[in-house]
């Protein structure tokens, strides 16, 4: 069986389970929307401030919303020791990581698709002129966030304090993603030249590559008893 087919089957399984329960997406979406509303009341940004505040509001919300999804990500596997069952399949363990990474990424992208227009409406920022570049930055940042988050979720799933442990481990490691995500988003929204945005984008790409490769390679040892 090809690696692609294995990842596709793993992704199908996660999506079917999520479609039936909607546990992860519901929690992430409600949380993200609530934070957007609270930000609106807390800052009531003027048009001049809105552009400056929106990237921070966006990435902080995404970071916290992602922990809700990531902390549930391996719970389904843990409840009936299905993670053990996955490890019995004749596939490279890294492919299990890849399947989980993709499902977590999809959940985060769905939340972003709802959150971004909501935040833009609250802040009164026009997204259309920069939408393509903005989506590119969001995708790169999201990959980085879930790449490290999926690995840490697998590490923390057997601990009793996983809900606490995951953000405590995730946020320090994901700080480069958040900082460069905010910088690149600000640059894109402000219509700065591509050359100004590129250093942040490059760092996001580097972070993505490093953590996806590390996650793929070490997943076997992370889930081993």
């Amino acid at each position: 069986m090809s690696a692609l087919a294995a990842v596709r089957h793993l992704l199908w399984k996660d999506l079917v389970l999520e479609w039936r329960t909607r546990e992860i997406l519901t929690a992430m979406t409600i949380f993200a929307m609530l934070v957007a509303v609270v930000f609106n009341f807390a800052f009531s940004p003027s048009p001049a401030d809105a552009l400056r505040l929106l990237p921070g509001m966006l990435w902080v919300t995404l970071a916290f919303a992602s922990t809700l999804g990531l902390s549930r990500s391996f719970v389904l596997e843990r409840d009936h020791q299905c993670l053990e069952a996955l490890r019995l399949f004749p596939v490279e363990p890294g492919l299990i990581y890849a399947g989980k990474l993709l499902s977590n990424l999809l959940y985060l992208l769905v939340v972003e698709a709802l959150l971004l227009p909501a935040l833009a409406a609250i802040a009164g920022v026009a997204l259309l002129p920069t939408l393509g570049r903005l989506l590119g930055v969001l995708l790169l940042g999201s990959v980085g966030l879930v790449a490290v988050g999926t690995l840490l979720s697998a590490m923390s799933v057997h601990t009793r304090i996983r809900e606490v442990l995951l953000p405590v481990l995730l946020f320090p490691l994901a700080t480069p993603v958040l900082i460069n995500g905010v910088r690149a988003t600000l640059g894109v929204l402000a219509g700065r030249p591509w050359g100004d945005v590129l250093p942040g984008v490059r760092l996001l790409i580097a972070f993505d590559v490093i953590f996806v490769v590390v996650g793929y390679l070490v997943f076997e040892y992370v889930v081993e008893e």
């Binding site: 069986m1 087919a5 294995a6 089957h9 793993l10 199908w12 399984k13 079917v16 389970l17 039936r20 329960t21 389904l76 409840d79 009936h80 020791q81 299905c82 053990e84 069952a85 996955l86 490890r87 019995l88 399949f89 004749p90 596939v91 490279e92 081993e224 008893e225």
Partner: protein
């Protein structure tokens, strides 16, 4: 070449030594029953045999090959029934088997899933989520899951746990039908069931094989007496 060879296996979890130099060989087509009290190391032994756990020291050979070198390939040869179901409660019985068959890369995964559901008598409930199954049905599906890729080595970790008498009899019949056609390693607390299902028995106490014998005579009483002596309780 034996189906499974364990040589001087030790396994430590921090200061706890779960296995202390276990050596066992299981020939192809043979059924071995491993008895032992709770904490004897039976589950650890099976997890090591199933490549889910690496031994601290010692060597495991599956059909003559070292799992450290070619674990993904060797996993195709193993079916494991744990006391956990390994099933997703949110998926139907059919979807669970289909997913498993697909992950083993079976050419006609859907047909194989359906035939295994029929083999364990769950065709009528195949479209229901596993969370609605009884314990006995879940266990039957769990066995179908372990056999979906037709593995030559079947590892069963206390498969009778939580089953009522009727389900236990059905499971025994299923396992008896498989005897000889595949290698079976079974751990159980029930000496009667273990002796009935096996060609050979071993008793594991405190991570050590305290007794190992051919089981030609099917003498439950003898094994019970030896077991009581090994674990230090009155027979």
């Amino acid at each position: 070449m034996p189906a499974l060879a364990l040589r001087e296996i030790t396994k430590s979890f921090g200061p706890v030594r779960a296995l202390r130099g276990v050596s066992l060989t299981v020939r192809r087509g043979e059924a071995l029953a491993v008895f032992g009290p709770n904490g004897a190391g039976k589950t650890t032994l099976l997890k090591i045999a199933a490549t889910l756990m690496r031994p601290t020291t010692g060597q495991v050979l599956l059909f003559g090959a070292d799992p450290c070198d070619q674990a993904p390939h060797l996993r195709r040869l193993i079916g494991l029934v744990s006391h956990h179901s390994y099933l997703y409660p949110g998926l139907t019985g059919y979807e669970n088997l289909l997913f498993t068959a697909q992950m083993y890369g079976l050419p006609d995964a859907a047909a194989r899933a359906r035939s295994m559901l029929a083999a364990v008598g769950l065709t009528e409930r195949s479209g229901d989520p596993v969370r609605t199954y009884s314990r006995g049905m879940t266990q039957r599906l769990s066995i179908a899951r372990a056999l979906v890729h037709d593995p030559p080595l079947l590892l069963l970790d206390e498969p009778y746990t939580g089953l009522d008498r009727q389900a236990s009899v059905a499971l025994t019949d299923l396992l008896l039908a498989m005897r000889g056609s595949r290698t079976i390693v079974l751990t159980t607390h029930s000496i009667e069931q273990g002796v009935a299902l096996s060609d050979r028995v071993a008793i594991l106490v405190d991570g050590v094989v305290a007794y190992e014998a051919e089981n030609g005579a099917r003498d439950v009483e003898t094994v019970e007496r030896v077991y009581a002596r090994c674990v230090g309780v009155p027979a």
